[in-house]
Point group: C2
Chain length 672, copies 2
């Protein structure tokens, strides 16, 4: 392509944008891996966005009212790193750029939020950025309504590629954004017509413009290399009451031999071709070299927001002390001091009353006392509000004309919900939780994994957590889903046995700052198994002795959630035969594993035979607790599921699949 016209028309812009292009070529070449074409193709859009519109202060990347920029096409990470380095970010230095994709560098292959303050979210798995951005934009709306426009008033900008838009989650995201009128969300579509396998049309012919319009979006079509068109489009987008998609016709790897080819998508490391590209661009500098004039200009861009920030700080200072404190507490993710008191009070009441309720209902009881004292919570459900019991009376419903509403009807969009919840958590100031059936962990998985990787405390309320769901059958009955979440690093999986444990699990989940939680809750009613009130949070230990053996301790029954009731019944039967039986409730394996060895041995001492009981697959972490101190064939057993479930009433299923006190007793006795 002859790019001389582009250069000639806007020479200054061209040179500034070429700094991004050159740094990208150099870093990818040094790493001998990465993706060159996208940053080169989108440099013009990014340059105009950063220099004319994005509200940010490079030296204070965490300033609360900054605009958020999300690189959904995360493989083009050098676009973001180049921008940050050029603008004077103190973490993404030139050394970091030179260390692109190397051990210990902040400049990972894909942007990861925990490496630098200016990286808003982790992207790479396609579609996640745009879906997470919906949560950022919702968060802004909610906080603006709550704290006022003087304190919260910013935009969320996203760069998404064809890959992002082909992923199904993008449909959930754009229909949510359209439905909820997220006017401050602006998505740039890098319409370069290229994917890894070849031209986009090889696998897709979607009319993206009409697709976005069908979801209620404004759409503006521009030449993605024309700075004036880019500027005008962003200006228009900022005025729109609906979210805006700016379709940017671009050339991947612009000006390089690999331009407009799928080769251009990947790592461009051919020295000759790269030299030719730089010459073509008119970039006469050495590797990683940016002339002072260009760098200075970019640093001015990076410092432009300092004045905005200073003004914002003044406005913030004008808030009452208590409002300031509240805002700061929520931004910092600190839990209000009252939390432990209301949890304790609920536990006391429940231990006295001993209700028989499903733990999904228990969860609602907890939320009824938590939500009024934690205005930062935002609840929701993927169209199962009445089943997940996630909506409490005080929340109000988030909508176009009720932005203070704290309950989101997510529709049948588990994946979009999970991603948007992550976005709220990342935005700051909000603590999102949302529900669906536990089997649909499968739908939400990509975002649940990202929550763990990103170290954010999203809470996934997963109800109907076993064959106890009953007649809806195996498609709706989780079997392997406890294993899925337990196998995921940095994830707390709670399976509480009653309302007391549910309250304790919520308390732990709500005090996390860097770890998501999965609450595994029943459809069916369960008795209150903890009738003696304890002020301490036993669930925070992961496992504890719920019922001690009378006489010589011969058996330890270890159970979670709905199966604790079965363990207690089995204990009664065993004790009646004079067999001393301890019951250990294990609501959170991860927390139990974190206890010191002395505690673990106290709860699970060597000697007695062990039977684990959980209506799920044994592979969900059980071998560790059952096989630990004894030989396999002789001294332990597991009562659970080793197949998919079936469609029938819950009691029948428990009977047919052998998850019964009788079976536990027989197993235990067989081991003695």
């Amino acid at each position: 392509m002859d790019i001389s016209a582009l250069k000639a028309k806007n020479p200054d812009h061209w040179t500034r944008a070429c700094a991004i292009r050159a740094l990208t070529l150099d870093a990818v070449t040094a790493a001998n891996s990465g993706h060159s074409g996208m940053p080169i193709g989108m440099a013009d859009v990014a340059t105009v966005l950063y220099c004319k519109h994005l509200k940010f202060d490079a030296k204070n990347p965490k300033w609360a009212d900054r605009d958020r920029f999300i690189l959904s096409a995360g493989h083009g990470s050098m676009l973001l790193y180049s921008l940050l380095y050029l603008a004077g970010d103190e973490q993404i230095t030139l050394d970091e750029v030179k260390n692109f994709r190397q051990w210990g560098a902040r400049t990972a292959g894909h942007p990861e939020n925990f490496h630098a303050d200016a990286i808003e979210t982790t992207t790479g798995p396609l579609g996640q950025g745009i879906a997470t951005a919906v949560g950022f934009a919702m968060g802004e709306e909610i906080l603006r309504a709550r704290f006022g426009k003087k304190v919260v008033d910013h935009h969320t900008y996203v760069i998404a590629g064809d890959g992002c838009l082909m992923e199904g989650v993008s449909q959930e995201a754009i229909t949510l954004a359209g439905r909820y009128g997220l006017g401050k969300l602006v998505v740039f579509w890098d319409n370069n017509g290229i994917t890894i396998d070849g031209k986009v049309e090889l696998s897709d012919k979607t009319d993206q413009v009409s697709r976005f319009r069908s979801a209620g979006w404004e759409v503006i079509e521009i030449d993605g290399h024309d700075p004036e068109e880019i500027d005008a489009a962003i200006t228009a987008a900022k005025k729109s009451a609906q979210p805006t998609m700016i379709a940017c016709k671009t050339h991947i790897a612009l000006g390089h031999a690999a331009q407009d080819t799928s080769k251009g998508h990947g790592a461009l490391t051919n020295a000759e071709q790269n030299a030719a590209a730089k010459e073509n661009w008119g970039w006469a500098y050495g590797p990683f070299e940016v002339p002072a004039e260009v760098k200075n200009w970019w640093e001015e861009v990076g410092s432009r927001g300092a004045a905005d920030r200073a003004e914002w700080e003044e406005r913030f200072a004008a808030l009452s002390d208590s409002r300031q404190k509240e805002f700061t507490r929520q931004q910092d993710g600190d839990t209000p001091k009252k939390l432990s008191a209301v949890i304790r009070a609920l536990k006391k009441q429940i231990s006295e009353e001993g209700p028989k309720v499903a733990t999904r209902k228990s969860s609602e009881m907890v939320l009824e006392v938590v939500n009024p004292i934690m205005p930062e919570t935002v609840g929701g459900s993927a169209d199962l509000t009445g089943s997940n019991n996630t909506k409490t009376g005080d929340l109000g419903v988030f909508d176009v004309d009720s932005r203070k509403g704290r309950y989101v009807y997510w529709g049948i969009r588990e994946h979009g919900m999970a991603a948007a919840m992550n976005g709220m958590a990342l935005h700051g100031g909000l603590r999102p939780y949302g529900g669906t059936f536990m089997a649909f962990t499968d739908y939400a998985r990509p975002s649940m994994r990202l929550a763990a990787l990103m170290q954010i405390p999203t809470v996934f309320v997963m109800t109907h957590d076993s064959i106890g769901l009953g007649e809806d059958g195996p498609t709706h009955q989780p079997v392997e889903h406890l294993a899925i979440s337990r196998a995921t690093p940095n994830t707390l999986v709670f399976r509480p046995a009653d309302t007391i444990e549910t309250a304790e699990a919520w308390e732990v989940a709500l005090t996390q700052k860097g770890t998501p939680s999965v609450l595994s809750l029943t459809r069916q009613n369960l008795p209150t198994v903890r009738r003696e009130h304890k002020t301490g949070n036993l669930t925070s230990k992961g496992a504890y002795v719920l019922a001690e053996a009378e006489g010589k301790r011969q058996v330890i029954l270890i159970a979670t959630g709905s199966e604790v009731e079965i363990a207690l019944a089995a204990r009664d039967a065993l004790q009646a035969e004079g067999i001393g039986t301890r019951v250990v409730s294990m609501p959170c394996m991860e927390l139990f594993a974190q206890q010191d060895e002395a505690y673990r041995k106290r709860v699970l001492p060597a000697g007695p035979v062990r039977v684990g009981i959980e209506a799920a697959t044994r592979l969900g972490g059980w071998d560790r607790w059952l096989l630990g101190e004894r030989g396999r064939e002789a001294k332990q057993a597991f009562v659970g599921m080793d197949s998919f479930g079936a469609s029938a009433p819950a009691e029948v299923l428990y009977e047919k699949f052998g998850i019964t006190a009788e079976n536990v007793v027989a197993k235990a006795k067989g081991l003695l």
Copy 2:
């Protein structure tokens, strides 16, 4: 709603459709659970489809050239069961209908393909039906091209609800169908405006008509209660070269007190209201009673296809013997006899040559010899063709003008790909496999689980299966994904160590009839560890002794995939110190668990210390093999991952995360 006009206009149709409505009310009431409103609302569409268009023979539900009917809104299962019972299906009897949702019944809460021949696929998780249908329709195109229109010429009909269309996977499905011009796919959208949480507009305002058009679909909008409009729309849809969406404006729970409400979505069991609804419909019969006249008419509908089938059988008989045999073999899912010979020949060649290649490349080498002798294979990749190595030279590319092509460019649609592959497998006559990065198991999960539940042999080719992926970093590095698939019932997870094991794994996967396989393959090169040719398939045993200890056997190293090389290096080091060390390669835990105890004990005898090595989480089934016969703290160790990975070159990551021969040696010696 006053439905007298509907009744008066088409009295016969009305009565016949009401048989579905009444059976639904009765079955849901008897079960005291289920979903009444959808079958009641879609009874008119279903009646017209079955009586005027659907090509089926109720007594021969598996006839190869039948039209396929897929109830994507699977919660409305009574619609399907009513239709089947009425039309004279011999498996879905009146007794089965009366036993709706009970243990052992074929009439599960959601339709499950393994309960009755006429149930084409398992639905319930929303969006799965429509996405699976894409594979059915592709399968029809491919087989029609291969065997001719006289033998293969049928439609795929889908009923989808708002829930299906809100799920992201529906976008992947409809853009695939649009791109590939699947003109024989017809989707009825049950546009009733209601979800569980309330009106659709509560969470969605998508213009579905323009959304489908943006994906290249024909769209016809009709009154879903007007039999003439329904008939005309289906007639038009059958003529379309593009897939057609028929938007059916309907009333959920038509004529019932719960009509047009979210209550109507669920179980309508109020006796009084139900009686009133039946009176409103003009249905004066007792529970489960269908007057002979109506039943006879429906049975005529059910037998109408018998003549079509007889004609088809004549046409089929006109094929050459070899074509008939080939068609039948492929429909039955039988593997050609030649398979084991070509696998053996490849193994022999490889054991002699000993190439050092990535197992993703090994997989390609296998496919290069398999695809030419198995015309039923259909390969593909979610835009990672050159990375997954799924495309072999002979396949040709499936496209609008090349229907014989056996390679599908799925685009960036892991979920849609997995679902459509399932659809091909369910359709019969095809054996689909498809690739993506293993970390994106997360995106494909809902359909991978369904493959296992549905008992179909879809093959998921998951490459870049560990931190060995390198610089792309933790978003792209699987850690927990072996655990995810291993925890899923009825799934074979293969992690081959070299080309030989890869060939053996493919052989096992390709001979499955009722179990999906996951192939976990490396990005990085691996040596050939099996240099001695064995004709038998050792991988089919799940684990075997790869290298025996010299001298007294003190250590057993158990490893999979890329870590077998590390185990062998560790063995060398240990043997050099005089420590007898056995290496067990364990390419498939599920198959090893299926071996008899004598074999398992022969491979893993008690006595030696054990070290497991796998660049993944220990929770992926390791405790069972490590803790089996010995105490935990004393005698075993695991070398793997207990966190997410990082972005750096693969060798650096193995070093930094301690997955090295040195570490294995140290661990083993520490246990002695």
